[in-house]
């Protein structure tokens, strides 16, 4: 195991994930053998430049790749959904940090291998996702309340029926209504006098649940907000709606794909804080995808740096930022202005991300790396531990098979 | 998505020669796009066959004298089915040879479409350009006229004009020309306005280019694309509308025109004589279909955004 040995259960482990895209010029290896774990209750930051494969990696958890041309070419994503805590049986204890639930290995499934119907049950319930641009990720023709309601209809039918005060064995049109699986003629059935009253109660229960979910995100007047359309809301409000929708079913894992990139800086801080708060209260694991190092530093427990379809460095936030080992990580950090950066010393990494069509067996950073040697061009480095919790894929710390190794002391470029 | 072709005011200072090469390369790309779309290729093949038929009509079938565009009447062979010697596709109630009508009808249709599309394109382009370039009240008045013309359904408008002028094929051509120029005026005006806002036209103005020069070299070549697509689609549409007017009865009787022939054949269908309407109608369909296929293909090839739609 790469890093699971370092305490705590894992909620998901990605192993050798490969996602390819068919293009006119050949097969693009967008994600090329990525492995990492997400521990229970942690926030893992996934950073990298645009086009390095971080979004595709995040979407693989929900199998949301455009098919075709996206192809899951190999690997696995094991997911351990939470179960009732074994030591306290749900009452809340120290091991489960008071939530009564805990990741459990015995319900482990490979997200890439399960039938699509099972995948669908996990989506939005156990694993949820927040998208980059809330203006585009909300349906413009539906009120936001109705969009959040869909999550409950899909995954919380029984609770909904109980909350509406209907018997648990309710069947027929009302149950189909409460699970969003209408059949032809249901519209007519639901308008019958007795049934209509039942439907009204389900609708009221639904409104209560939606308002509750919205209230979690600290919006003023959730009941009123439900009836609004996305275009009537500000960017920050829309993202709050997205967050309410994603956290509605209390997922075990949240994929946040650059959730603040489309927002103003002032709004960004508040949204970030909101995600952090909700995450800590519920002990939800978060995979936080971003290109912004300083932002990831603020929010993550651990950081994984991605480059050209590979993870090149992974470790605790403290370790990676105090002692970045991979030249790419160093380059990224040098490109971020900090308080201690002297004026005019801001460095950019030269070159751009290489095209990932049929890559050769060499370090992907060749050509941009100031320290590269012949060994880097002939051997493909893989992640190896330099401390129990810090892994790097570079010959600087682990000599290439030929024994040759680059050094930070002499730049070859 | 603004498409910036050549521009002499480029930082590199493109010469006329490179501009020409850029345009040739683009043209080559468009042709490649056309050739890779099977539907377009089918359309092009049909068009080629139709054109060949129209051009070689006098050698395929001896022209009727004195007027080759009048159907020859063989009163000794009335209502003959297809396969009759001398009348491969049969004859009409009046002894007209259906094959003659089909072949010489392609000439009539070609005339109709070339004359209507040619004249509307020229008139529309001029009026649209003037409206866009001059602006102000000239633009306002011209565009209100265009709006009024677009308010009357095409076929009904053309029908009314042709009816007022009296039944003749020439009047159908005239009526269609009066109705259809507005489309080009609209396209052209929109193009001029859009391109006028582009930086490189401003730049051309700054370096002291004359208005006419800017128009001829920077605006007109860019507007060629949408006008060509519209013209291709219209080549088919015009024949469709023209044949409809002929069918209603706005052509001279007895002219070798597909719509007239369908109308003439209609009387016989109750007695089982299906051929006199079927073959000429099929020609109208193929004509319109081929130009629609090529027009659509052209639009896709010229607009990278619609790729794969």
């Amino acid at each position: 195991m790469l890093d699971a040995k370092h305490g705590g259960a894992t909620v998901a482990s990605v192993r050798d994930l490969k996602v390819h895209f068919q293009s006119k010029r050949g097969v693009v290896h967008a994600v090329d053998g990525v492995s990492f774990d997400i521990r229970d209750g942690e926030t893992l930051g996934l950073v990298g430049e645009t086009g390095c494969g971080k979004s595709v990696t995040g979407r693989s958890f929900l199998r949301l790749l455009p098919v075709p041309p996206g192809i899951l070419a190999g690997g696995s994503v094991m997911f351990n959904a939470h179960a009732v805590c074994t030591s306290c049986e749900g009452t809340g204890c120290e091991t489960c940090e008071g939530t009564g639930r805990k990741a459990s290995q015995d319900r482990s499934v490979n997200l890439l291998g399960i039938p699509s119907e099972d995948m669908r049950r996990i989506r939005g319930d156990r694993i949820a996702m927040i998208f980059q641009d809330p203006g585009k990720a909300l349906n413009p023709t539906l009120p936001v309340g109705a969009q959040i309601a869909e999550v409950f209809l899909q995954h919380r039918t029984d609770e909904l029926i109980a909350l509406a005060g209907l018997p648990a064995d309710t069947v027929g049109a009302v149950r189909r209504f409460a699970s969003q699986s209408p059949r032809f003629g249901d519209g007519w059935l639901l308008s019958l006098p007795g049934v209509r009253a039942q439907r009204r109660r389900v609708e009221e229960a639904l409104a209560t649940m939606v308002a509750g979910a919205l209230a979690e995100t600290q919006v003023p007047n959730p009941a009123k907000l439900m009836a609004r359309y996305p275009h009537e809301l500000s960017g920050g409000m829309r993202q709050r709606v997205m967050i309410a929708q994603a956290l509605a079913c209390n997922p075990d894992l949240l994929i946040a794909d650059e959730p603040t990139t489309a927002l103003d800086v002032t709004v960004e801080a508040r949204i970030l804080e909101l995600i952090r708060n909700l995450q800590q209260r519920r002990k939800t694991s978060v995979l936080y995808i971003s290109h912004d190092l300083s932002l990831v530093r603020r929010i993550s427990d651990r950081v994984a740096v991605m480059y050209a379809g590979r993870i090149v460095e992974i470790g605790t936030t403290a370790e990676v930022f105090a002692n970045p080992r991979h030249p790419y990580t160093r380059g990224l950090m040098a490109a971020v202005p900090g308080a201690d950066t002297p004026r005019g010393k801001l460095a950019a990494i030269r070159g751009t991300v290489p095209e990932l069509v049929d890559p050769a067996a060499a370090c992907r950073f060749c050509g941009r790396c100031p320290y590269e040697t012949g060994a880097c061009r002939n051997n493909d480095p893989f992640l190896e531990a330099i401390t129990p919790s810090h892994l790097v894929a570079c010959f600087i710390d682990h000599p290439a098979p030929s024994g040759e190794r680059p050094s930070y002391d002499r730049a070859t470029a | 998505m603004t498409d910036v072709p050549h521009s002499r005011v480029d930082a590199e200072g493109m010469t006329a020669d490179t501009a020409f090469r850029v345009r040739m390369r683009r043209l080559f790309g468009v042709l490649q796009g056309l050739a890779s779309n099977p539907a377009t290729v089918i359309g092009l093949v049909i068009i080629a066959l139709m054109l060949a038929m129209a051009i070689f009509a006098p050698w395929i079938l001896e022209p009727n004298s004195p007027d080759p565009y009048q159907m020859p009447r063989d009163w000794g062979a009335v209502r003959k089915p297809p396969g009759t010697p001398g009348h491969l596709l049969g004859t009409t109630n009046e002894g007209g040879d259906v094959l003659y009508g089909v072949i010489w009808g392609s000439r009539t249709s070609l005339q109709l479409s070339l004359m209507v599309v040619g004249s509307t394109m020229i008139v529309g382009t001029i009026i649209g350009s003037v409206a866009g370039l001059v602006g102000g009240w000239v633009d306002e008045v011209l565009m209100r006229i265009v709006d009024v013309f677009l308010s009357i359904p095409e076929l009904i408008f053309a029908l009314a004009i042709a009816a007022v002028l009296g039944p003749s094929f020439g009047n159908i051509i005239f009526a269609l020309a009066v109705v259809l120029w507005v489309k080009y005026a609209r396209i052209m005006r929109a193009q001029v306005l859009q391109i006028k806002q582009n930086d490189y036209v401003d730049a051309a103005r700054v370096i002291g280019d004359s208005r006419v020069n800017i128009y001829l070299r920077d605006i007109l070549p860019n507007a060629v694309t949408p006008v060509t697509v519209q013209a291709t689609l219209d080549m088919g549409n015009v024949v469709l509308i023209g044949a409809t007017l002929s069918f209603i009865g706005l052509s001279e009787a007895g002219i070798a025109e597909w719509g007239v022939l369908v109308s003439e054949g209609q009387a016989g269908i109750a007695s089982g004589r299906w051929w006199a309407s079927t073959f000429p109608g099929l020609m109208i369909f193929l004509w319109a279909l081929s130009f629609n296929l090529v027009g659509d293909g052209l639009r896709d090839a010229l607009d990278p955004r619609t790729e794969g739609r």
Partner: protein, 337 residues
Amino acid sequence: MQLRDYILRRLMVLPVLIIGVSIVVFTLTRVGGSPIGIYLSHEMTPDEVAEIEARFNLDKPVWVQYLYWIRGIAMGDFGWSGVAAAPVADVFPLKLAATMELALASGLVALLLGIALGTYAGARRNRLPDHVTRIVAVSGASLPQFWFGILLLIIFWAQIGIAPIGRSDATIFASIAHPTGLYTVDAILAGSPAAFWDAIWHLVLPSVTLGYGATAIIARMMRSALVEELQQDYVDAARAKGLAERIVLKRHARRNALVPTVTVIGLTFGFLLQGTITVEIIFRWPGLGRWMADSVLRGDQATLMTYVLFTSVLFLVVNLIVDLVYANLDRRVTLGK
């Protein structure tokens, strides 16, 4: 710009366009021979002709003539129809009912069929149903309706002999009253299943002929709109919520794809209106279109011009309504320029 301003501006432009159309129509009446041609005969003396001209204000300047003409129309005087041997205004409603029944039946079927077909194709992009729909769409735009109708008649009327021609069976027609002029509605009002069946049976072939092209227009638009919508983020977001693909398609993608599809309804309406002319000729349908065609051939100018004016105004109003509905539906639309 606000929606209210947009509506106001559109409503203000409408009368301008209608006046423009009326000027065009008036010009046409003066171009093609004398507007009083049907009242004149060879035996009249120049004095008598002058007297008639004076009665119809033809001795006044053209713009005064136009005003008299407009005043007549405003008071419901559309002239005398030589073809119908009655005032145009008297015959018009009856013929209109026949045409509207045909156009509405075709339009309704085309709308439902076009949306279904477009959705089906768009959701299965580049697969067999998609290719079939594309063929339908392209052929629908190229098909001469008069020829298509005749082909249907050759097969179902002349050869097989199951399809009727005309608008209703004579004895059935006489058996019920026709208060609305829409025979299907009249049959329902009279409670006569036989008459209803007869009306539907006569509607089938003309509707298919007329509706094919309209279906093609709508299906084509629906398909490309759906393909566009399926690439949007909110579709993936809906999937990420765990919704079934069926719900994602119907409740999310299709709902949004319907918005741009609304814009082709005006176009479709114009298409149907024009199509009624030839379809009514072929199927002996006693509506406006056939009356119009007869009038054209017999130089009945009053009918012709009333028809042009009426259809244009109808076309304008329908397009206005479509635009307003669209602007209201799609709140993302930037109004105005």
